[in-house]
Subunit: 469 residues, 2 copies
């Protein structure tokens, strides 16, 4: 047997070299099936290595099944088929699948999606994390309950009771890493022909999710109160997905009259439900927060969705769903074997963050800061472009709508924004279905959660270049 | 208008009391539709409160749509329908849905599922987290790439190249919060009648997932080499889900001969793939680790699944999938709009943990500790029950199989274990399909990752009581 041993210090161990070489010789049938191998001592002498090196190599080959041993007779080559190879397979990554690392250096953001980095209280978060590690050492090393730690659900229940008027027991809360994941689970419980109503314009990812699961979708236009109830009645929807606190993306706050109409609509048919996505309701300026739709529901027909993405970090990945009792029973029967997908350290840290009041304090602080940014941005927008824009000024959430009088098409605007390195989205991507009004006019979704006061001027310079030049 | 104001210090603000009271009166039609409200000044005088309190209340009622205003005429009650109420709805949580908080005090664990708490290097983890916060301040405040941060995927790619022989580019890696979630995504890409082969006994959660999505499943029995290739050939499976490094739960290590047969099987039909779940391959005793099946695959027919649940914390919730190039293109076309579900702080901390070598050091340390625990547990099991048990002693992973000579049924064993407060599972829950051999005999899955050396003796006292008394 020919095995070349390289004794350089930085090479592989000698036993590994013997193992590798014999493995290749066996796979390529240089060593024949059932051929007897030299004894360890013989091979050690031949290669001028220690018997121990050969022993380790033989042991590894044995455990992986390259060789077998017969007591008192020695080691033999196993019967291993030849690999079949498809020579047509492409092994190198094609150019179009290579990822470009995008450097966002020099960009400014008026996106509705990101938060202000410098404001996240990492220090306080770390302090509460240390606290969580001390208090929950045992729990952190096990899987949590499938719906998330009970203690966290208890704290979320009392948090949303006091801030959103949501009525629920901890048992009704399901914690998950994404709102979309919660919705997906819920969809898996439904018959495949269930019609689901979405607001249009609305959240495109919901539409994509429904399409992936091939559910029929009824796109419901908005009137001045939000979801157009007459249009909704014309459809056959069993569920309505809506954002009453701050319609995404138009920002409309649904008035009580429409809320009552929707809740009554749900009651008209058995198993009809409203899914309330309360994605950024923590932020409200000038007046108090708008109570949730769930808080008005006396008939258990509202499924409430909340998230910590907007108040903490977009990548925190802790969301939750509050299920009416009847749906909870169905859910548990189906999903009792699920593994909780949210990070356990983040969940227990959040628990401490809420329990000590640090979370509520953080939200208040952010609310003040966002209000200041929002006011300043609107002021500067009006000063500079007053005649050429109309701001849909509804003081809630982290973005507002701006109608722009420009001759540019949406495509041209988007290209110009990219050229100007200004992250800012048009309403186009939220038109789930063509809408003549929004196609005739030009609407932008202007976010203010990730811009510094000092950068507003420069951002608006770019805004001007992109939209009016 | 009658509004009772409570001026106690710890009561609600006066404006909130006015708001609440008027809201109820409007909803209950005590105040009639289109009724004119008193002016702010009038109401303030009547209630003996400040005009400011009334203003705040009116503003809140306005923004929520309870009242409307006509310039120079004042405020009026909106036209709001009456709530319809379903009196049959049950509002209190029924007893059977109440969660019992289980106190695990006094329990000992020989479960295969949990890790040893005291060994997780929280301090080192926190140090790398602080590092991550400094290095990636900007990235932490945005959503990561849908497949996970590129830098983390790059580090995972070189980690699994060196430890598992896995060949891939960072582009081929998809990070996710759960292995089941990755599998679920992959399934959504497949036709609904796709047959999927599962090992039996095997991982029950996979079976539940496939059932939830109504995929036809072919349960393939094991022979001494793992998946029975002849049985597999009799079926019509397009995918095989297998655990070659350490079959779950029997612990078998698949020899190279069977690996070659499986890889050749995959090549026989277009779009046939093997899904390799490498769930605990980091732990191998006596010899080196067994290279992954993916490392032997020259035809891009293996989908590789890995996780950090076993090496770090079960609740870490960071898993990954390595897709062959052809499948990657399909995946990206379908899932490009997904939001990465893993916690962003955990992902960047893990990145630092791997990049600095701390992860590899931790795994080596755990491997040594687990080997010691395993050796001691087996020694004590043999000493005490040598004649009544057979240990399937395959030195890999975090559990091994024990055949017990007892007259007790599986049900009786499980009840007795609970009574003894010993967390330990029988093979029953992993029999995806009835299997005469395992039903005739009594097999236990003995885990050693969450027991202290000092507790082994007491655990085996309970073992004795539960199985032999």
């Amino acid at each position: 047997m020919f095995i070349q041993i390289n004794r350089d210090y930085d090479n592989k161990y000698i036993y590994q070299q013997i193992y590798e070489s014999m493995k290749q010789q066996i796979l390529q049938r240089v060593l024949k099936v059932n051929e007897k191998l030299p004894s360890k001592r013989q091979l050690a002498t031949q290669l001028q290595v220690s018997v121990n090196s050969v022993t380790l190599a033989y042991e590894q080959l044995l455990v992986e099944g390259y060789i077998y041993t017969i007591e008192r007779s020695g080691y033999f080559v196993e019967d291993i088929r030849l690999f079949e190879v498809d020579h047509a397979i492409q092994h190198t990554l094609p150019e179009d699948l290579k990822e470009q690392v995008v450097h966002k250096g020099g960009w400014l953001s008026l996106s509705h999606m990101s938060n202000n980095s410098r404001m996240f209280p990492f220090k306080s978060w770390l302090k509460h994390q240390t606290e969580a590690i001390e208090l929950f050492a045992k729990e952190l090393c096990e899987l949590s309950e499938a719906q998330g730690p009970y203690i966290l659900r208890k704290n979320i229940a009392s948090l949303i009771q006091s801030t959103r008027g949501v009525k629920c027991e901890p048992e009704q809360i399901i914690v998950h890493s994404t709102t979309l994941g919660l919705l997906e689970q819920f969809l898996l419980l439904q018959a495949k022909d269930t019609v689901i109503a979405l607001e249009n314009p609305g959240y495109a990812r919901y539409d994509q999710l429904l399409k992936r699961h091939q559910f029929p979708v009824d796109y419901v236009p908005l009137d001045k109160y939000g979801v157009d109830i007459e249009a909704l009645r014309k459809g056959e929807s069993q569920f309505l997905l809506t954002t009453p606190s701050h319609q995404f993306p138009t920002g409309k706050i649904m008035p009580i009259s429409r809320r009552v109409e929707l809740l009554n609509w749900a009651l008209e048919k058995e198993n009809r439900y409203i899914i309330e996505d309360d994605y950024d309701s923590e932020f409200k300026y000038k007046t108090d927060n708008i109570p949730s739709l769930q808080s008005l529901d006396y008939n258990s027909r509202v499924i409430y969705l909340g998230t910590f993405s907007k108040t903490l970090l977009p990548g925190m990945r802790i969301s939750y769903m509050v299920l009416p009792i009847k749906l909870l029973r169905e859910y548990k029967a189906y999903f009792n074997s699920l593994i909780q997908p949210a990070n356990i350290l983040a969940m227990y840290t959040l628990n401490q963050f809420i329990e000590t009041g640090a979370y509520q304090k953080h939200v208040r602080k952010m609310n003040l800061m966002y209000e200041q940014l929002r006011t300043e941005l609107i002021k500067q927008l009006m000063n500079r472009f007053g005649d050429n824009i109309e701001i849909v000024n509804i003081p809630a959430g982290l973005h507002f709508l701006v109608k722009v009088h420009t001759k540019k098409s949406y495509d041209q605007i988007e290209q110009a924004l990219t050229k100007q390195k200004l992250e800012l989205y048009t309403i186009c991507r939220f038109l789930l279905q063509e809408d003549a009004y929004y196609l005739r006019n030009r609407y932008l979704i202007v976010g203010f959660a990730n811009i510094d006061l000092a950068d507003i001027d420069e951002a608006l310079n770019r805004f001007e270049q992109a939209l009016f030049h």
